[in-house]
């Protein structure tokens, strides 16, 4: 086939200056040029300025409380991507790094939130073209009868192309107790795409630490294709309290006098109890406190409320929690 007479973006330009392309694809061209983004930069600052990745990283620092090891690792990954860009601009070819990740940690430690940010960072640095996050669980990947799994998994993969595929509770994919389980088929398709289309798709697996360890032990192929294993630690009470501040602030509420101390005491009692889900439990506790505040105000039929009345969570709203009654004898120890 003869060489085309027009220029294709991303390929070496022919010697005479090509006429501006007027094909139907011109918006796509602009998109491609944007995605390639960081062109000709020579310093880290230039790459960061062109890609605006540092604003996302700064937001991550600012918005997410605690999680020091996770943030450190994300900074490392971002640094590697920036340096890779610089190397590429100087013509030092390097293989695109494998960016598949696994996030392990207890419920409510921020795995999904970080995954969403990760998609933005990778998009700003030009490693994924679209930067959207497709969050799925076993149900979205594994079919119910023979021949159902492959199309289902492929459809999800196709939707996630150009972005990040986030598989929550990934260990459910593998059910060793049932040898006719279709999860294995989904894993094999995933592995194939993770290997062959590294440039098109980043896969993030998430789940509880111990179960994910079992999952990786029984799927060594999966483990070896994931370069970054990030462990999300549980939050200490201080961090949870700051998270609570932030949650209330975002909903235009605030703690009244003594309420913050009461909430700290609540957390100290709640943490040792079963089914504690870190930030998620904090959000639920605050939602319940809002309910109590609402019914407290509701009882006052004839009162004219000030904005303060409506936005302050009182100490009594928090003290009314079940936790203070049940856990009282244990808290003495």
């Amino acid at each position: 086939m003869a060489a085309p007479l027009y220029q294709i973006p991303g390929q070496a330009a022919p010697s005479p200056p090509a006429a501006p392309a007027t094909s139907a694809a011109s918006p796509a061209e602009v998109q491609a040029a944007l995605a390639e983004g960081v062109v000709g930069a020579r310093t880290v600052a230039e790459v960061l300025a062109q890609s605006q990745a540092d604003t996302v990283i700064a937001e991550l620092e600012h918005d997410l409380i605690g999680l020091a090891p996770v943030k450190g690792r994300i900074r490392d990954i971002a640094a590697l991507l920036v340096i890779d860009k610089l190397r590429m601009n100087l013509g030092l070819q390097a293989q695109a790094p494998s960016l598949h990740m696994s996030f392990t940690g207890n419920p409510g430690t921020g795995k999904t939130t970080v995954a969403l940010r990760m998609a933005q960072i990778l998009h700003r640095l030009g490693y994924v073209r679209k930067g959207h996050l497709v969050a799925v669980t076993r149900d979205d990947l594994v079919g119910q009868y023979i021949g159902h799994t492959a199309p289902k998994t492929k459809e999800v993969l196709k939707k996630a192309m150009g972005g990040v595929l986030f598989i929550d509770e990934a260990y459910y994919l593998y059910r060793p107790e049932n040898e006719r389980d279709y999860g294995q088929e989904a894993i094999e398709i995933l592995l194939q795409v993770m290997e062959n289309q590294r440039d098109d798709l980043v896969v993030i697996l998430a789940g509880y630490k111990d179960r994910m360890d079992t999952f990786f032990r029984s799927n060594p192929g999966m483990s070896s294709r994931i370069a970054h294993h990030l462990d999300f630690p549980d939050y200490p009470a201080g961090d949870l309290l700051r998270i609570a501040d932030k949650m209330l602030e975002s909903q235009n509420y605030r703690f009244g006098r003594g309420a913050r101390a009461a909430f700290e005491e609540y957390l100290l009692r709640r943490i040792p109890q079963p089914h504690f889900a870190n930030a998620r439990s904090v959000r639920n506790a605050l939602d319940r406190a809002r309910l109590r505040q609402a019914s407290r105000l509701f009882a006052d039929r004839d009162r004219v409320f000030t904005p303060d009345d409506l936005s302050i969570i009182d100490e009594s709203d928090i003290r009314a929690s079940r936790v203070f009654h049940i856990a009282a004898p244990q808290a003495q120890t």
């Binding site: 086939m1 294709i8 918006p27 796509a28 199309p151 192309m161």
Partner: protein, 146 residues
């Protein structure tokens, strides 16, 4: 048609151009995706001009964001039917449009036999004309191979 000097059928967009490369195809796909079209892959062994409905290779792909997904499906189809005609079609679901807005051939058999014009004598020395696709001369199971 039999009068086509390039001996290639010309249907849909870009059919007078040399075959699009994968880069060019994915740029077209991306253009469609950015407009909100849903792409689908179809194939056939009979490119008769009145053969409007080709076989679907999988269901149309809704909610995609990036061209790589469509290209993946296209390459699957090429691997399965290397000697068939394969086309990509973009469906615009906008209310009031609701139709195919882009369609172009992305795979052709090596040997394109083309068509012939068939004349039928009808009463009163009338001549009825119809187009016959040479590809259908062979039994269905033998088409798609050289």
């Amino acid at each position: 048609m039999m009068t086509n000097p390039v001996r290639r059928i010309t249907q849909g967009q870009f059919s007078y151009l040399p075959d699009l490369t994968d880069t060019e195809i994915s740029m077209q796909i991306q253009y469609g995706l950015d407009k909100g079209y849903a792409w689908s892959v179809e194939y056939t062994d009979d490119p008769h001009p009145r053969n409007t409905y080709w076989e679907m290779f999988g269901i149309p792909m809704f909610d995609l964001r990036d061209a790589a997904g469509v290209l993946l499906e296209l390459n699957n189809c090429r691997k399965t039917f290397p000697q068939y005609y394969i086309r990509l079609m973009a469906f615009d679901s906008t209310r009031g449009v609701e139709t195919i807005v882009m369609s172009f051939i992305v795979n052709r058999p090596e040997n394109e036999p083309g068509f012939s014009l068939v004349r039928q004598e009808a009463p009163g020395r009338t001549i009825r004309y119809t187009v016959h696709s040479y590809a259908t001369d062979r039994p269905e199971t033998e088409r798609g191979s050289l």
